[in-house]
Symmetry: C2
Subunit: 260 residues, 2 copies
């Protein structure tokens, strides 16, 4: 699939099994989303966790219990087949990766679609700001921090952040450009010294790959959707499904529709 | 209580029964909130309704089930005693007004605190914009519209709006000033012709009082928290409690803390 494919074409190719690859760069300009599927009896506590932590967990859509259609962001889509790859968890343990979760679907499941950083990265590139991991052809470096999310009764997690190095004279502009993407992690959570938020070594990210930090560059940190996955690993729910890393749901929303 | 009282003092006077009056103008500059209390088995569907309709229903805090303390916006407060007046509903019918809901409290109740227009009205006044119902010493005029909120499985409602007339040259400024208050209804939902949103007669509001609309003034409409009350009346839950109109919860947050 190409950069100019429509979201519905991407989803169709996932459905037929033609597309099983990661989605960065596909249908550029359309909003991609993290997926979390949980049983209804955990839905309130998870929604509350997201509501309390909107920077790492910005909710874009929540399906009706038992219904796999994300009506608000992609009418007619089916989250059971329309992502390229999924992860299935039991008691917080990864038990399977699959490209079709219909065999696991039940009437008590609720799907949460959560905003992702691709939206603001496109905006950064359009504004002439560099996105180092794209330049270097890597996955973004992500780190667990010493910042605790506000827990709900069932879910808690350290805040996970992604990092993008910027020359000092671009840092303020990066705040301005990303802050309007409130539904895609929004403005940075920290600028500068990583130790202040409990990161000891930028060269050893907890997820993704390290990227080059040049002289006169400042590390800038944004809240990251992986936080929802660590919250699920900690809560050890009986059953959960997520997208596989980088294999996102491509919605019909345009990035600019996330503006508030 | 005075304009300069601290929120904790207002709440203490509610608790002792000294204050039973409406709260507009008290502790000016601090965020006031609508209250909705529901049983846990409706909490997910109500939170989802609010999440889907953030303009009328901006969530500021949600208490843990059975716990009456709104920890995020007023640590140490007790929503059972710290508002001046409450309404108790059974099967969607108002059965009682009271100043203390401890006799009704149960371990399965969840309280939702929802942003209110007082925050952006203060900002409008500070920006030199007129707020007609305050000038005229009335309650703000509110209208049911033909716009339907996005429903959840249990909750649905027409969007209720409040109206403030502004001279044409102040309309754009009113959008700018209120839009940063995303957690207090944010920017207007409609400017100008009331018929477009199903309002036939500005002189006959569904709630509150009509105000003067002068020559060269434009009616400007904002989403209104009364929408949550109409959603509850329509859903007819077995049990619910809300604040009495105008008798809000005064939180420790400052208006500026609602900025995003």
């Amino acid at each position: 699939m190409s950069i100019s494919a429509l979201p519905s074409q991407i989803r169709q190719q996932c459905r037929t099994g033609e597309l099983k690859a990661p989605t960065p760069g596909l249908a550029l300009g359309y909003v991609q989303a993290n997926l979390v599927v949980l049983p209804y009896d955990l839905a309130f506590e998870f929604l509350l966790f997201c509501q309390r932590n909107p920077k790492p967990c910005p909710i874009l859509d929540v399906t009706e219990v038992g219904n796999p259609e994300p009506k608000l962001i992609a009418p007619g889509a089916d989250i059971r087949t329309d992502l390229p790859r999924y992860r299935v968890f039991r008691q917080g343990q990864l038990v399977e990766e699959t490209t079709d979760i219909r065999p696991f679907w039940k009437d008590d499941l609720v799907a949460f679609l959560i905003g992702c950083s691709f939206s603001f990265e496109n905006a950064m590139l359009n504004a002439g700001l560099s996105v180092r991991h794209i330049e270097e052809g890597k996955n973004v470096p992500m780190y667990k921090t010493s910042i605790q999310c506000i827990p709900s009764r069932t879910f808690s997690s350290p805040l996970v952040v992604s990092m993008r190095p910027l020359p000092a004279h671009h840092v303020v502009r990066s705040v301005e450009v990303t802050s309007r993407y409130y539904k895609a992690h929004g403005s940075p959570v920290h600028i500068g010294n990583p130790e202040v938020i409990g990161i000891e070594d930028l060269g050893s990210p907890d997820y993704g790959s390290a990227v080059t930090l040049r002289d006169n560059e400042v590390p800038v940190f944004w809240a990251c959707g992986v936080t929802t996955q660590t919250a699920i690993l900690q809560a050890k729910p009986e059953f959960a499904i997520t997208h596989a890393p980088g294999h996102m749901f491509v919605s019909d929303l345009k990035d600019e529709e996330l503006f508030i």
